[in-house]
């Protein structure tokens, strides 16, 4: 499977409301919760984003390691996981409880190349 969608460009129409973008991660002081986030990531996200989060070209999935993703706020990532972008292939994960979606955000932070 061809990974590393390094040419990924975010959908300019996938706009996050300001108040949602400002939300802090309530688990930010619980880094241990990232382990649960990894488990959730492997279960729900690797099909399109790959195990290292670099994104499958064929799926047009975001490379989560890219600065264009990593520079987004925790609240933005949480909102995008919650709502998805169904017309561009990203499903909504609102079926996951809210704390689990914040765990995913914690884990996505660990996908930075320096980690």
């Amino acid at each position: 499977m061809l990974a590393q969608n390094s040419a990924y460009q975010p959908d300019p129409n996938w706009r996050v409301p300001q108040d949602a973008a400002m939300k802090p991660n309530p688990l930010a002081r619980k880094p241990d919760a990232a382990a649960g986030g990894k488990k959730l990531f492997l279960r729900n996200c690797t099909e399109c984003h790959g195990q290292d989060g670099s994104g499958l070209v064929k799926k047009h999935a975001a490379d989560l390691q890219l600065p264009v993703v990593q520079n987004q706020s925790d609240g933005t990532l949480f909102w995008k996981i919650t709502n998805g972008n169904p017309d561009r292939g990203m499903p909504s994960f609102s079926k996951l409880p809210e704390p689990q979606r914040w765990q995913l955000v914690l884990f996505i932070r660990k996908l930075k190349p320096e980690n």
């Binding site: 919760a33 099909e47 017309d87 292939g89 499903p91 609102s94 079926k95 996951l96 704390p99």
Partner: protein, 290 residues
Amino acid sequence: MRLAYIALFAFSLFASVTLQAQESPYFVTYDHHLEEPGNLEIETSSTVGVPRAGQHWFFAPYLELEYGVTGRWTSELYLEGQSTAGDSAIFTGWRIENRFRPLAREHWINPVLYLEYENINEASRIRKEIVGAAPELNESNAELRATRAHELETRLILSSTAHDWNISENFIVEKNLSENEGFEFGYALAVARPLATLASGKNCRFCRENFIAGVELYGGLGTTQGFGLHDTAHYAAPAISWQISDNTSLRFSPAIGLTHGSSPALLRLGYSYEIRGFSTKLARLFGAKP
């Protein structure tokens, strides 16, 4: 007769061998979560009906193939059967169901539009919806299977998430295109919540996060000829789902009949298996490049 029972059991078992994450525990009520695009979920479920005096036990298994066509459209095919104690085991028909999410984002209330075509006979007992008046359960399968029913079922699904609780309401309208009997109405209401909302770091089968518990309330609301609660069937059903592994889950719900027109109890069991990236795997099988 015995062969028919064995065939039904084998059908049920085969389906269970061939069968996601955070699977809803509901059997009748739908929430707003659709199948992820390109994924196929294979589910085998069964409804066991506990009889009233003078009636017979019945066992109604069904196989469900649920496919995420797009992020806002899920389609399902059902194949169903039925076996009545002291009578026969028969195939009762098939259904095609489609669910559409008109709104792209999560809202306080999330509407989903539902349209189903049923080509079944009157012996169908899976009880995926309870509509109209209370059913007659005294006729034999031989009599019932002779009467085919082409039905259209529509639902307005409203579903919300509040503090990790799912609250869903379904309003059902069904029309039997084979008979001039007007429209039948029904409802289904449900709430559910995971037993734990934080995922542990370890892979565990019996962690509380793998269980979702809830309760459903569903029943008929009569027909255009007689709208209301008179002579209708209603059930209250605690329900639980258990995510056994990344792609398998089990659901159980004992429904208690609340009115004289209801069966005293319905026992429901479902087992599902999800094939992630089914469309990609299928395309690869036919030579598409990875």
